[in-house]
Each structure stands twice: as C-alpha cells, then as structure tokens.
C-alpha cells in the first residue's frame, strides 16, 4: 500500500506549509537585538497592503476606516461589561468613568504624586471636627439629554447606592450619617445629606473619616440623575439610550459580547476632549497583540497580554511608545491562621523568608515593579520607608525557623488558585510552590472556578491564596481596614488574624484627624502586623504598562487599579 505513504507525505507537506507561516513570524520577533530598521521595514511592508485593502473592502472592517483626523480611537478589553450601572458592579468602570462625573477627581501630577481636585464641585469646606462637608456644585451642569444636575441628584445617588437590593457599592456611602438606618429600613431618607438648594448641600458623616474625599473621587460615587434613573427603571445601565450621564462621553451603542462605542457629549461642561469617539472591542490576548501590531488598536493594555510577549515584542519594537504608571496595589500571599500549622507565627515567618520574590518579579513580570515589605504599596499615602527592606529571601533561615517550630520535615498545605486568574498569577503560584518545596514545605495547588474560590475565601476557610489588592482610593485605610479592620473582614479575607486589640486599633485609626498622628499610627500598625505577626507575605507592587499607537500623542494612565482609562485625558496627534 504505497497510497498510505503518499497520503502521509502530503499531510506533512500541508502541515509544513501551515507551520512555516508561524515560524516565519517567530523569526521576525525572535531577534530581540535586531536594529529597529528591520522592524520598521516590516511594519511598512505590513501597512502597505492594509491601506489598499481597506479601500477595497469598504465596510469589511470599520476599524480601518477611521483616519487620524476624525478623533476616533480603538481600544480592546478582555471581557464585555455586565452592566453600565455602577451600583450593580464592582468591576466594570469603563462607562461610569467616562460617561458620568464624580464630585471630586484624582489628578496625577507630573512628578507622579496625586492630588484630589474639584470636579462637579465648585467649592467646599470641611468642619473642624471632620464631620460636616459643605459643598457647592458648579452652576449649569446638565446631563447629556439636557436635564440639569442638582443637589437632589447627589442625595438620590447615595440613597440608591445604599438601598438598591443588589448594590455592590454600599461601602461608599456607609460612612455617611444615617446610612445604617436607611439600609435596615428604619429610615426612609439618608439623614446625613441635606439639600439646601439646587447647588448647595451638606454631607454629615457619622464619625470622622479622612478617606471620604478620596471616596468621592472614585467611579463608585458617580452622580446619577434622579429623574432619568427613576424613569429608566431596570433599563438603566442596560440600554445605552437610558444610561445618561453628565460626563464627556455618551454611550452610542453596546453590542453584548462584542463591545461598545462612546461618543463625545456636546453638552459636556468641561473642555472638549481630543478623542471624539471610542470603539471598545472585546478581544482575547492573542487577538489584541495582532490587532495592535497591525495598527487596529490605539492603546494596548499590557496587563491583558502575556508578559513574555511584552518583554519580547513590545519592550523592543515599541520601546518608545510604552507608557507606564506605578499601580497603587500590592500583591500578597495570605496564610490562614485558622489552618494548622499557620497558627504559629514562626511558621508564617518561615514562609515569608522562603519565597524568592525578586526572582518572581524579574521572571514573570519582567522586573516591572518593586518589592513590598509592608501593607501599603509605594505611592500610597503614609507609605513608610522605615518599614521596607527588612524582608530578605533566606531559605536557610527559613528552614531553621521551621525546625524551631517543630516542622523540620516540613508540612503539607493547600494554595487555592482562582482558575480565572491570568497566566502570570498561575505561574507565580507555581514558583511559590517550588520555593516552598526547597525548604521542605509541600504546597499543593488546587484550582477553583472564580465563584467557588470567592465563596471559599469569604467563608474564612481558605488555607492560603495569592492575590492583589488595588486601592480604590489613595489612603492606607483602604488596604489595612479591608483586611484587618474588623473580625468580619479577617474572616472574609481568610486570614483570621487573631489579635483583637490590633484589629480595634486599625478600626480606630480611621477616625484620627491629625495627619501626623495618623501617619505614625499607620506605620506602627504595619510594622506590628507584617514584621511581628507575619499576617501575610508581602510580595510586590507592579507597574502598569500601556503601549500607545502611532496616532496617540499622549495619555496619562490612571494611578488606581481600574484598568480602564479616562478617555478625556488622551490626546491625539
């Protein structure tokens, strides 16, 4: 049967044809040190057929039609948003950020620091006890359909945030006086917000809370229109024409599963942005990579693609187009005190010393970050240099501590992995397991789907996990309170920290009004928690890298974790 041989050969031929195409691509980018001339010739080569193609195809690909002049940009996200209603999500901020406004906004200064500036607010003052915020709104602000924005809308927004049955944002109104009563149904109104007239109102807190202004500058507290939202009912956040804000853009279309389009709001009160239209497309990582290289994307979020790709392609070919910002977030490894042998602080300290964080940072994240030894990431308010630099990778000392604790032969435990996390996280956990194996600890990695993972963590029974906390607003309280501010919080975060006196101190630190005193207390708490009690293994903070395309002149990525961008800050060439 010669036939078989020939068929076999022809199969090999066809597969060789297919794979040669792939290998060709590999050679191009494999030469990391190749001079840029080489890559340039490749890019012009690629661009030429594209331009002729786009005219030939016409409607085939709308993305190619947008020329630099029309102010439209193309952006990719990895999954579609669920809702445009910020009260019903804690993930999808792209619409809230660009279609609505907040009372205050966070501005990134050129030196990297941040400050809170007025946005919808014309003027404001805070009483000496830190309880009463008197606010004057800017005059003449309207929603994109012409409805004026007034103090009533501010009050409505916070009341809705607190009373909506499936609200995800109750934390952001909880510090206002009367929030509790409103939530448990004993009050009909939020007593802490007093409307004086259309542009004047006062907000009273139940106790002083220095992070409050910062909270008012996050997408969680965007101001909604009372009349429009009430009229829209369940369609608010679902139908673009019923989701109306006062921000620089309006949602012109939303195709579920494939993406959405934002367009400039001509009634916007602020300066007209350079970007007039934003096409947001849902793509997976390899599509984003190809689309950006072909010029079909204008900004690429490196966090959404493989870090090896960032290193091999973008840091070489696109080195001049990379924009980066220090992400205000910290990666950490939790060791649950409720799970033996982690009740012993010596064991937790041994784990702290056994992990080669620098190697992880260098190999998985291309070194784009900074080791963190505390709780608050660098860039955070009251970040303390004194609490840094003490934690060193030392497997020998780790082994010694383990045998001191009676675990000379190591022990077994489970690291729980959220199977929905990105490949980098999965890789980091595998390195951690390897590091621990080297000191004799056998860490078994177990995968859960996201929801089960979250359920296990919230129940307080998860033995160990790695995750990142990105600050919603720049205040140490946002990290430390979330993890160690109350008994409930220590359970929800599965650390089960047992020192109740320290937990009380963390809660009390929120109310300290004097900045100096507050700074000292937060530094002391950080030292106590991480260095003495080893409540977690601090890992690192990461840089957030973007690559901008040829048409983008500049943009400033947001310092906070939201991967979404304020498009009004993007300028085109």
């Amino acid at each position: 049967m010669k036939a078989f041989k020939k068929v076999f050969i022809s199969i090999m031929l066809v597969s060789a044809l297919l794979s040669s195409a792939a290998c060709g691509g590999a050679k191009d980018s494999g030469q990391k040190d190749a001079p840029s001339a080489d890559t340039k010739s490749e890019s012009t080569e690629a661009a030429a057929p594209e331009s002729s193609e786009s005219s030939a195809e016409g409607s085939a690909d709308g993305k190619n039609e947008s020329s630099a002049g029309d102010g439209a940009i193309n952006i990719a996200v990895s999954s579609d948003i669920v809702t445009m209603d910020v009260h019903k999500t804690s993930n999808d901020y792209i619409v809230p950020m660009n279609v609505f406004d907040t009372l205050f906004e966070v501005v990134l200064n050129s030196d990297g620091s941040t400050s809170i500036e007025k946005s919808l607010v014309e003027d404001y003052s805070v009483s000496d006890d830190g309880l009463v915020y008197s606010i004057t709104l800017k005059d003449g602000i309207v929603f994109s359909d012409g409805t004026p924005l007034s103090s009533e809308d501010v009050k409505f927004t916070f009341e809705r945030m607190l009373t909506l049955p499936d609200s995800e944002q109750t934390d952001y109104g909880a510090s206002i006086q009367g929030a509790k009563e409103l939530m448990d149904g004993s009050a009909k109104e939020l007593s802490g917000i007093k409307v004086e007239d259309d542009t004047h109102l006062t907000i009273t807190l139940s106790e002083p809370f220095s992070g409050f202004l910062a909270q008012l500058a996050t997408p969680s507290t965007i101001i909604l229109s009372k009349s429009l939202v009430t009229e829209a009912g369940d369609d608010f956040g679902i139908l673009p024409e019923k989701t109306i804000g006062s921000g620089p853009y309006i949602v012109s279309s939303w195709e579920r599963g494939s993406g959405l389009t934002l367009e400039y709001n001509p009634l916007y009160w602020g300066p007209e942005p350079s970007v007039k239209k934003v096409n947001i497309k849902v793509m997976d990582a390899s599509s984003m990579d190809m689309a950006f290289q072909k010029g079909d994307l204008d900004i690429l979020d490196c966090q959404r693609i493989d870090s090896a790709l960032v290193e091999s392609t973008y840091k070489t070919k696109y080195a001049d187009s990379i924009v980066s910002v220090n992400r205000l977030g910290i990666n950490y490894l939790i060791l649950n005190e409720k799970v033996e042998p982690f009740s012993d602080p010596k064991v937790r300290k041994a784990v702290q010393m056994a992990i080669d964080r620098q190697a992880i940072l260098d190999s998985i994240y291309n070194g784009d970050g900074k080791l963190e030894d505390g709780i608050y990431p660098s860039g955070c308010l009251y970040y303390s240099d004194a609490n840094q630099g003490w934690l060193k990778y030392d497997p020998e000392a780790s082994k010694a501590l383990l045998s001191e604790a009676g675990y000379a032969d190591g022990f077994d435990f489970e690291i729980s992995l959220d199977s929905g996390s990105d490949d980098s996280v999965k890789n980091v956990i595998q390195i951690i397991a390897q590091n621990l194996k080297d000191v004799g600890i056998n860490a078994e990695i177990k995968s859960y789907d996201h929801a089960s993972w979250l359920e296990a963590r919230n129940s307080g029974d998860m033995p160990s996990f790695m995750a990142a906390w990105t600050l919603d607003y720049n205040d140490p309280d946002n990290v430390i309170y979330t993890f160690f501010g109350s008994k409930d919080n220590t359970v929800i975060r599965s650390n089960n920290y047992s020192d109740e006196a320290t937990i009380k101190r963390v809660a009390a630190a929120r109310g300290i009004v004097d900045p100096k005193e507050r700074e000292a207390e937060y530094a002391a708490l950080e030292k106590k928690l991480v260095q003495e009690d080893a409540v977690w293994v601090p890992m690192f903070s990461l840089k957030h890298l973007y690559v901008k395309g040829d048409r983008v002149e500049s943009f400033v990525p947001h310092w906070a974790g939201w991967s979404d961008i304020y498009f009004k800050g993007v300028t085109l060439k």
Binding site: V7, V14, S15, K63, E168, G257, S287, A451, L454
Partner: protein, 304 residues
C-alpha cells in the same frame, strides 16, 4: 403521518429527559448555587432573593416541576450574573450562532464535496493524495488551531480579512472556515468513498458504453446517487457544529450561544447555563425531526 406524530411524541419525551438530565447534573452537588454569587460587596438579602427567584429553597421534585412549567411558558429564569431573563439572552445570542452555523455548513459542503469529487475523479493519483491529506488534516486538527492559524495568515500576515467578527459578512469568513474545517474533512472523505463505490456499480459502465467518458459518467450519474449518505450527515453535524461553536465563537468574538454558555460556566451562572444547554438540545432535536422529514421526501422507501 401517524409515524411522524409518533416521532414527534418521541422527541417530546427526549426533551423531557434532556431537561431532567441537565437539571440533575447542575444540582447533584448539594449547596446553594446562588450563594456562590457572594461577590465582594453583595449582601444576604440579595442571595435570599435570588434563591427564592430560582425556587432553590423548595424540594427538588417541586423545583423540577416549577422549572418545567416555567419552561413551557417560555420562562427559563433570570441570569444571576447578567441580571436579565435567560430566554432574552439566549434569543439575542441565537441569530449569531445560526449565522455562523449556516456559513460554516456552506463552507464544509462546498469545499468538502469539491475536494471529495476531485479525489474520486483522480483516484490514486497526485491530486487525490494531496486532497486526501487535506481532508485528513481536516478531521484531525483541533478547531482552535485552525482558528488561530487562520487569524494569523489572513489577518496578520496578508491583511485580507478582519481579525474578529464585526457584524459584516466578510468577517464571518474566517470563523466559518474554522468551524467548518472538521466537517469539510468528513464530507470530503464520505463523498470520495461513496463516489468510488458508485464508480464500481454496473450502471456506470452502461453509461460509459453509451459514449460518455469515465469522468463525465461519474459526475453525471454517480454524484447524484453518492449524495444521499452525505445529506444524511447534515443532522449529525449540527450537534458537532454547536459543540465547535463554543471555541470558534470565543476566538472570533461572536456573541452567540457557545460564548454565552462559556461565560455562564466561568461566572457560575446556573440558570443561564441551564438555559443555553437546554436551548441547544432543543435545536438539535428540531434538526433531527427536520432531517427525518427531508429524508422521507427524498427517499420514498423510508415512508413506512
């Protein structure tokens, strides 16, 4: 006619079984599926409300009856994650999957039959070996590899076609090829073998004797008869195409049933998963009835 009615009753019984099976599979592990929705900020009342809305607080048999009666009224429940009626979501996604399936079936048939015919005509000569190689690749390469290579070749390398589905017919070409690739392989193999079988039949010799060349005879008489088994494959392939649609839709960003089901698994959205699986089983059963009807029309011998 009574046979047809009997067949329909059979399909209804199967659909009942389908509902029962998916109901059991999704609930076999005890625990409240609504509880896993506890996201970072959700509260107890939300979970209680969702539990009640899915009747999860009731006994299992009662739950099933409620689900069944709901389904009969067109109520498949409310999606946990997307917070909208499941039926609305499924009906929104369905046209995309239909479009994808039609395009890829068309590709599979045109390409598959053409390759099969050429192979048969040039039996055991070079074109045959080449095309048999292609059709074997067709049945053995995973859908996702085909999809990734197509994107690379036609978008990245040669800028001929869009990367993702964007609503236009042109952007449907790559997904259709990716999904139709496997089916094209089987169609080609089947066409070839049944044509060759026909070739050996006697009446073709008669045709040849009448003065037609061998090739013309094969095409003129053989092809018509060879098509019957190939047409029977249609219904069988509907099921495998719906399976393949999960991957194709997720690679090419098509908001169809497969992508909806995948997102339901990823977000642990039990009602949505239940609804999408049920709906696609319903479509397959419908396809079976239709192919029965077609077969009966084409081949009168099947009318019993």
């Amino acid at each position: 006619m009574s046979a047809f009615i009997r067949r329909c009753v059979g399909v209804l019984l199967v659909l009942l079984g389908v509902m029962l099976l998916i109901f059991i599979v999704l609930r076999i592990i005890p625990g409240n599926p609504a509880a896993v929705l506890l996201s970072e900020h959700a509260n107890k009342e939300t979970i209680e409300r969702l539990t009640a809305s899915m009747n999860l607080d009731k006994a299992l048999p009662e739950q099933f009856l409620l689900y069944l009666s709901g389904a009969l009224r067109g109520d498949l429940g409310q999606s946990y994650y997307l917070k909208r009626p499941v039926l609305d979501l499924v009906l929104e996604a369905f046209p995309f999957t239909v479009k994808l399936t039609i395009f890829s079936a068309a590709f599979a048939w045109i390409f598959g039959i053409a390759v099969g015919v050429i192979s048969a005509v040039y039996q055991n000569r070079l074109p045959d070996y080449l095309f048999r190689g292609i059709s074997l690749l067709g049945v053995s390469v995973p859908v996702f590899m085909v999809a990734l290579f197509l994107q690379y070749l036609f978008y990245f390398k040669f800028s001929l076609l869009p990367l993702l589905y964007d609503g236009s017919a042109v952007s449907m070409i790559l997904p259709a090829i990716a999904l139709g690739w496997n089916s094209a392989g089987s169609v080609a193999r089947l066409t070839r073998s049944s044509l060759i079988e026909q070739n050996n039949e006697l009446y073709l010799d008669t045709a040849k004797a009448k003065g037609l060349t061998a090739k013309a005879a094969l095409l003129k008489h053989g092809l018509k008869n060879a098509m019957l088994p190939v047409i029977t494959m249609l219904a069988l392939q509907l099921s495998s195409m719906l399976s393949g649609a999960v991957i194709t839709e997720s690679v090419f960003g098509i908001a169809g049933i497969g992508k909806l089901a995948l997102s339901a698994v990823e977000t642990r959205d039990m009602p949505l998963l239940q609804g999408t699986v049920l709906f696609s089983a319903f479509i397959i059963s419908l396809g079976n009835i239709i192919s029965d009807l077609i077969n009966t029309c084409i081949d009168p011998r099947l009318r019993v």
